[in-house]
Symmetry: C2
Subunit: 248 residues, 2 copies
Amino acid sequence: MSDKDPYSVPGLVRGLTLLQTFTPQRPEQTMAQLAQTLGITRSAVFRTVHTLVQEGFLLPVRDGNHFRLGPAVLRVSYGYLASRELLEVAQKPLEALRDAQDWSGHLGVLDGRHILYLIRLPASDGLSSLVHVGSRLPATMTAMGRVLLSRKTEPQIRRLLEGQPKAATEKALAAWRKDSASPSVIHNGSFETGLCSVAAPIHDMSGEVVAAISATKQTDTVPASVEREVLKTAYAISRAMGWNAPAP
Amino acid sequence: MSDKDPYSVPGLVRGLTLLQTFTPQRPEQTMAQLAQTLGITRSAVFRTVHTLVQEGFLLPVRDGNHFRLGPAVLRVSYGYLASRELLEVAQKPLEALRDAQDWSGHLGVLDGRHILYLIRLPASDGLSSLVHVGSRLPATMTAMGRVLLSRKTEPQIRRLLEGQPKAATEKALAAWRKDSASPSVIHNGSFETGLCSVAAPIHDMSGEVVAAISATKQTDTVPASVEREVLKTAYAISRAMGWNAPAP
DNA sequence: CCAGGGCGTTTCATGGGTAAAACGCGCGCT
DNA sequence: AGCGCGCGTTTTACCCATGAAACGCCCTGG
């Protein structure tokens, strides 16, 4: 399906199609079977299978002439499931957080020296959220960014910020030293005065920080109750993902 | 990793590698980011991404310049998980069946007009199992084959058997008519006289028959208790897979 | 024992995918 | 506005992945 497309890569299409011919009903196939099933030459099957075996997507079994799917196929689906699941799973706890405190809720990840917003939940006032999904802001100037940076090492921070004005780097490192000590980060809006945010990190099962959430409102102090709720929500999201995050 | 291999397919390797760069920490990427991450030209990324989008493995999001993994990535892992899981899950119930009755246990799938053995559990006598894992026997001459054929339609059977001697086809169709009516199939050894088997199908969640199990022994009558155990085991395997098979 | 066929592998000329360069658009900065 | 840069897209000459054919091996049957 779909030829005469000048930009398609036949080799890739064949490999992906070939992988999809493996089903529970047909878990092992020989090259000849694959060639017949796909209606392509045995040469193409040979090279494709050879490549897939080297990548671990196929495993030779039995006499070496039969092949079955290898564990590597899970590598591609992992990224999808994990990222999808995080956004879906995080949605409800974040909504609960917003409704309980009427603060805007966000979820973001670190991309280089920027924070990337993936979920945006404006509070009822509609004012305390100036970003959109997909927005990028300098990490050092947001609560989520700071809490994500605070979980990196100092050399990583320096590498990330190199090329920046020296004053900005030193200021970021000062904040980094302070943020590293606390489980959450409170940040007073760098873009709009009076806008205040509190952020907490989300850990995966290996302890890696994969994302952060934050609550934002037009205020100048963050009640301890809100900070506690943010930490609890971050923990709830980790738990809902099946990850063993440290308890708040 | 791995060049100067005369049989590798660069386009395929690139596509698979590209898919693996999508992680929970980096769920969306632009072509330029991908080119930099992979260290390949933007042209290659453009063609690869274009192909992956057409196949549904990537989805353009936001402004159309960012891409994230698409649901299609699950298609390749489904076959792996499903087939792997079936074999692992089926192992223990089959062992229990063998130990309870001391009959040889097998699990097989239909491949064309042949039955493919995927699990082989010899009984203590070691005699009543003449096949190996990976063995192929004509479906019409085994209990598992007959029970799998009996879940197909008559036109499917005719197509499967075309080219066979007419007498064999008619005989198979007669057996098919009888087998369709019962939940299990008892078959007296076509390869060794006195060897008797009883087989039951395993259904997946959609009611499709994905495999069959059988118990075999040197005898000429199948006790009702063994037939009941085989049906129960097949049902137990379906249930352990999370499938809603019809109760025995 | 030797044909015959099926299958995995290898070879080789060629056509198509590839890398490089150029294009054009949008954005940020002065 | 004007400029410059970054990025997605298009083009093009080239070279490498490709399809066809041949090879060698292991079966099976006569």
